[in-house]
Amino acid sequence: MTDISNTAKPSADEVVLRYFAWLRERTGLSEERLVLPPEILTVGDLLLWQSRRGHPFDHAFAKPEAIRVAIDHAHVKPGAKVASAREIAFFPPVTGG
């Protein structure tokens, strides 16, 4: 059962990454779909990975403390696990209202 489930859903490990405001501008991306490297366990790991991913991500993620993250439409902290995430968004602190 477990083997069938795994092979029947090849996109199960894919996650959508979304970028907003100056993160969207600096990465040149609104969103991308990819499979995260297995060593990325937390949001903090993911931010570090982004900062080492090369141009233009190194520039966009140079100051991870200035970046906020949401998993599946909910704010999360750097310690949050990314394992079950379908959509992870990166953005600066919000400025609405």
Binding site: R18, A21, H73, A74, H75, A89, F91, P92, G96, G97
Partner: protein, 154 residues
Amino acid sequence: MTVRVSTADFDISAEMSRLTAGDTGIGGVALFVGKVRGEVDGEALASMTLEHYPGMTEAELERIEGEAQRRFKLSASLIIHRVGELKPGDNIVLVMTCAPHRNDAFAAAEFVMDYLKTYAPFWKKETFASGVTRWVAARDSDDEAAAAWAAQSE
């Protein structure tokens, strides 16, 4: 209990009529309207563009509205936030809270605004008359206002 994200302006009178219609238990309605200012630190603004995170915005606004209902005795509430390009003097946001008593209406409207400014995924980009553009930086005072409410509920 309604949240709405819209490029269009809102009609406060019409929204209030709709929100209060038929409920004579309402004794007070508090409203807040946020507007685009014409100058930032003495520099003339040409326009302000609001970006948001569709899906998460609605989820966060509903969460904030639900939290306000949990904390205060409310009859009805409404949050409308505009997105897209706005000009100086344009309305940005409308928060309306209806309650049997005015203290709940006022406190809920302030609570929603403080939380909205800290949690709702909107971002403002200013375009100055000079042509320079700049993403607005978050103000610590907004986080502090939200933190004060969080401390109150402990």
